[in-house]
């Protein structure tokens, strides 16, 4: 009995600590506010108001059914853990003739529970319980005046936990203070830059 346990013990020691790991330092997902022509009202109006009024204050990022995009999953004796940490986000104005974001005082991205219904004043994160987690923030006072691109600093949120397990979507709400670009209508690409790390440990 003892002799039969020795090889098993040796084998167990051998595989203990074994792993497989995938690291991608830069995974950038980008999505426009409008599907086609510029659609967000401008005219230097209140940015938060125009975003809410048009229903463009939320965007949906579909990650698809990726097996790795789960916090923890077991495959045989291996346990796979994945993190998708937000490094930073960007909002790039387009077209360039639309003006700039120099009148934007602050911009915040939050993980929202649902898409906006387009009703003026609809804010999915208002009164949400639990409160919507903040993903990235831009503040003119500390980050400087933006031109046609706003860079939002990420706070290290792990997006895997925020992706809907059923739809595999991440809904991002945009909150802003200050004024919209000067052009009548404008559009912007919202990009989030993430670091992916997925590791399978045995056991």
């Amino acid at each position: 009995m003892r002799s039969s346990r020795v090889p098993a013990l040796l084998a167990a020691l051998l595989v203990a600590g074994c792993f497989a790991q995938l690291e991608a330092e830069s995974v950038s997902v980008s999505r426009p506010l409008c599907n086609g022509a510029p659609c967000v009202p401008g005219n230097s109006a209140s940015l938060d108001t125009v975003l809410q009024a048009s229903g463009y204050n939320t965007i949906r990022v579909s990650f698809g059914d990726q097996p790795l995009l789960k916090s923890s999953t077991s495959v045989g004796p291996a346990t796979i853990t994945t993190s998708l940490v937000l490094n930073q986000a960007q909002m790039n104005l387009k077209p360039a003739s639309s003006g700039n974001f120099s009148q934007v005082n602050s911009l915040t991205l939050l993980a929202a529970p649902r898409m906006s219904n387009g009703t003026p004043g609809d804010d999915p994160c208002a009164g949400a319980s639990p409160a919507c987690p903040t993903l990235a923030v831009y503040t003119q006072a500390t980050d400087g005046i933006a031109n046609q691109s706003i860079v939002l600093k990420g706070n290290g949120s792990d997006l895997v936990a925020l992706i809907d397990a059923t739809t595999h979507d991440l809904i991002i709400e945009i909150r802003a203070t200050g004024n919209a670009p000067s052009d009548t209508a404008w559009d912007a690409d919202v990009a989030i830059d993430m670091a992916l790390k997925s590791r399978a440990n045995i056991p």
Partner: protein, 502 residues
């Protein structure tokens, strides 16, 4: 009155000094042929002759001088005088141990024969009149080697100062190592003792016994690059234990221990590996009995046997015609010099390999060659450490390499063209550490099984990953990915064989 006192003190001091000088001179040993030398000798010799006469007078007063010395001193030298003093070489001994005899050795040669040499030793810091003279004993094994033990009674000091003098039989000399005025120095240290737990105290009474008697035909010649078998007959009433050949290359300070194995009856043997027979070797044999009595020695650390190595010629030559029965202890000495070979192996997940093997040291093998894992080709290299050369030998193997191409689509079935593109360019770097067992002769053919761990690193193309991600992500969303790094630590196993051909 005061002047008279001062004069008396000075005269007394001079008398004491003269007495001390006379005592020092009395220590100079006899020079046997001095009385027969012609009066036309050089001033140097005359001076020596004068001092020798004084020494001879003093020696007459001394009792206990060796009879051999007296006989030598009485006999006139009848050979041809080369007029040259002997050549004296001396290597300072290692620090002595307080209360233990200290062995001092020297090498002296002269065409007329060597008289002496004599070791003069004193406690460090004492006056020149305090030297104790010790006649050095010639080695019966190595001509020209002399040694003497400084008695334990003289080593209860912090350091000793000494010098060595030697004459030839015609009276030429002395040749010196050090001098009375500028002696050589050797420190004497406390014996290092192992600290034992204070309680309980076990007192072991050593049973009676005696070190074994060693009969050994010293080897004086061997072939360079070949293993040398050293045999000895060890006979002891209380058994034999820790028999070993202590050897070193000429010029080295420390000896290496090579345990001797019993090959039947009282015969013991050990083989100096071929890798160690690169230059002349000094050695001695030592053994204890089972009660720790000993060591008995054939040769000694200070007067070892010297084995000259030649590039070709006869097999090891023993200095005495008393060969001990020879038995093979190693598997096959014949092919010990094989250093180049080939290896073929296969395993998972490492794939197969064809490697060139080179063995620069008997315990170290280097390998380098091609690797193949069905998906593609690569290269690899590594080292194998083997602690012995037995029929079944454990090994430690360390390898590293890189696959330059690889199509993993041969192993997995995917339909996504982007995934296929990604998997068709799978290159990776790996490192493995394996332990194994080798069966057979490591010098000719061996088969092996190994198991261990492998570490794999691979970089996945950002372009391929971007294409793959965009094909699977929702509409309206664009993904851009940089290069990704894949790494894994996994178990591995392999089997293969080695053939050494040269």
């Amino acid at each position: 009155m005061r002047l008279r006192k001062l004069f008396a003190i000075v005269v007394t001091g001079l008398c004491f000094s003269a007495g001390a000088m006379a005592q020092t001179d009395a220590g100079v040993p006899s020079e046997p042929a001095a009385s027969t030398k012609s009066t036309a000798k050089s001033p140097r010799k005359k001076k020596a002759k004068s001092s020798k006469k004084t020494a001879r007078k003093s020696r007459k007063k001394k009792k206990g001088a060796s009879s051999a010395s007296k006989a030598q001193a009485a006999e006139p030298y009848t050979g041809t005088d080369d007029g040259e003093p002997p050549q004296l070489a001396h290597q300072a001994p290692a620090p002595g141990i307080r209360g233990k005899p200290l062995n001092v050795a020297a090498h002296a040669t002269d065409a007329n024969g060597v008289f002496g040499p004599v070791l003069y030793v004193r406690k460090k810091g004492m006056s020149s009149g305090d030297y104790v003279q010790l006649k050095m004993i010639s080695s019966k094994i190595v001509p020209g080697d002399y040694a003497v033990d400084v008695p334990a009674a003289l080593t209860n000091v912090e350091a000793l100062e000494y010098y060595i003098e030697a004459w030839d039989m015609a009276g030429n000399g002395p040749s010196r190592a050090g001098s009375a005025e500028q002696p050589l120095f050797v420190s004497v240290e406390e014996e290092k003792r192992v600290a034992f737990p204070s309680a309980p105290t076990n007192v072991t009474i050593k049973p009676r016994g005696a070190p074994p008697a060693i009969t050994h035909a010293a080897l004086t010649q061997a072939i360079r690059g070949k293993p040398v078998e050293i045999n000895a007959r060890l006979v002891g009433d209380t058994g034999v234990q820790d028999a070993a050949v202590m050897f070193r290359h000429v010029g080295e300070k420390d000896y290496k221990a090579l345990p001797m194995g019993n090959i039947g009856a009282d015969d013991y043997t050990a083989t100096i590996p071929a890798a160690m027979t690169t230059s002349d070797v000094e050695y001695y044999v030592e053994a204890f009995d089972r009660f720790g009595n000993g060591p008995a020695r054939s040769g000694s650390p200070n007067v070892p046997y010297v084995m000259k190595l030649t590039d070709a010629g006869p097999p090891p030559v023993a200095s005495a015609a008393a060969p001990v029965s020879v038995h093979k202890r190693v598997l096959d000495d014949e092919s010990d010099t094989t250093i180049i070979g080939f290896g073929i192996d296969a395993g998972a997940p490492g794939g197969a390999g064809l490697t060139l093997l080179v063995r620069p040291l008997w315990w170290l093998r280097l390998n380098a060659g091609a690797a193949y894992n069905v998906g593609g080709f690569g290269f690899r290299g590594g080292i194998t450490l083997s602690p012995g050369q037995w029929a079944i030998t454990p090994t430690l193997n360390l390898d590293a390499g890189r696959y330059l191409s690889g199509d993993v689509n041969k192993f997995v079935t995917v339909t996504d063209p982007n995934a296929q593109a990604l998997l068709s360019r799978t290159t990776y770097t790996f490192a493995t550490a394996q332990i194994g067992l080798e069966f057979g002769s490591q010098r000719w053919f061996s088969f092996y099984l190994r198991g261990g761990l492998t570490y794999v690193m691979s970089t996945l193309s950002g372009t391929d990953l971007t294409a793959l991600a965009n094909g699977n992500i929702g509409a309206g969303t664009t993904v851009t990915m940089g290069d990704a790094k894949f790494s894994a630590l996994a178990p591995c196993a392999s089997l293969g064989f080695n053939i050494f051909v040269y």
